[in-house]
């Protein structure tokens, strides 16, 4: 009777050890899976935030009074950049005086205006503050009209088509 009980006890112990082993294996896989999930989730969140920042910065730039097309006392044109203003703005940013102000608006970014029609070779780098040791970057594009107010009347076209490429770094 005693021998039988001991054997039964041994079987019980082996059974318990096997169950505990399986439980810990499951727990281990669960933890690994959760870690991977949390990691991917964090990376996605980071990419999402960067994308949001890129869109915010592009919108901010397109509606910046310093570069936006105006028409007298009427409300300014949306999605239109004045090339004369743009050139002046670009030159002004070369100085360091307003660095802090525009850095507060655009942070680490590069803003390029590319003309598509009629002359696709023309482009302007308006703001260039790249982050040297960036972990990721994101480019967002918005199309825009480019108005050349130096062309007045005549047979020359004065509103061109192009886009704004906003490159942001994190």
């Amino acid at each position: 009777m005693i021998i039988k009980k001991t054997k039964q006890g041994q079987i019980h112990i082996t059974e318990t050890i096997a169950v505990l082993f399986i439980f810990f294996v499951l727990l281990f896989f669960g933890l690994v899976f959760y870690y991977k999930y949390a990691d991917v989730s964090a990376k996605e969140q980071l990419a999402e935030n960067l994308e949001r920042r890129a869109v915010d910065s592009t919108t901010r730039f397109i509606f910046l009074p310093e570069v936006q097309c105006t028409q007298g006392e009427l409300p300014p044109f949306s999605y239109c950049l004045d090339l004369l203003k743009l050139n002046a703005f670009k030159d002004m940013l070369l100085g360091d005086a307003l660095d802090e102000y525009y850095f507060h608006l655009f942070s680490f970014a590069k803003i390029t205006i590319q003309e598509v029609y009629p002359d696709p070779t023309r482009s302007w780098v308006v703001y260039n503050k790249p982050k040297i040791d960036y972990s990721s970057k994101k480019i967002t594009y918005f199309s825009t009209a480019l108005e050349d107010t130096s062309v007045f009347g005549g047979t020359e076209p004065s509103i061109y088509f192009g886009y704004v490429a906003m490159e942001v770094y994190s």
């Binding site: 999605y79 696709p120 918005f142 047979t155 076209p157 192009g162």
Partner: protein, 180 residues
């Protein structure tokens, strides 16, 4: 006898609890998997797509063109002028002549492929542009799809909204769809 039966009952209960715990664990794991698989980040891209569609169509409608004539060289014409002319004179005849083509053919074959090709195709976007007269929508005046494909049967499609324009024959409506 009673004690044996009680022991069996207890063992049965224990096994039941074990089964319930396993079912719970499996359910939680599946919920996690489902949440992971069904995560949709389309909303994050929604604003960028929408704004790109609106900005592209707004900018194109303002763009001025050269090389067009009507009984002699013309002053500056906008894309909207050409679109109106395309609706009023679809077969040409009395309309503008741009690089030897009438408005509809010039817009469809020359100008829009340059404008969309230099922007949306460069950004590797799928898109569809359509322009039609509201009173007579079939066939459309102009229809273009991107080099990367159109938006038929795609999810995550965003539209520029309707851009109406008054012409002699009625109201022209233009629309740009951008999708993933």
């Amino acid at each position: 006898m009673i004690s044996v039966s009680g022991g069996r009952n207890r063992k049965g209960q224990m096994e039941m609890i074990g089964l319930v715990v396993i079912v719970l664990l499996v359910t939680i794991a599946f919920l996690f998997l489902a949440q992971f698989a069904l995560r949709d980040n389309s909303d994050d891209q929604f604003f960028a797509r929408k704004q790109l569609a609106v900005s592209t169509l707004t900018a194109i409608s303002k763009t001025t063109v050269q090389n067009c004539e009507l009984d002699g060289p013309l002053e500056v014409l906008s894309v909207n002028d050409l679109l109106k002319d395309c609706a009023d004179n679809p077969e040409g005849g009395f309309g503008f002549l741009c690089q030897g083509k009438y408005s509809c053919a010039y817009l469809q074959e020359n100008l829009f492929p340059i404008l969309f090709g230099g922007s949306l195709d460069t950004f590797k976007r799928r898109y569809e542009f359509v322009s039609f007269i509201i009173q007579n929508p079939d066939p459309p005046l102009l229809f273009l799809t991107g080099k990367n494909g159109g938006c038929q049967g795609r999810k995550n499609v965003d539209t520029s909204g309707d851009f109406p324009l008054n012409a002699g024959v009625g109201v022209i409506e233009s629309r740009l769809l951008i999708c993933d």
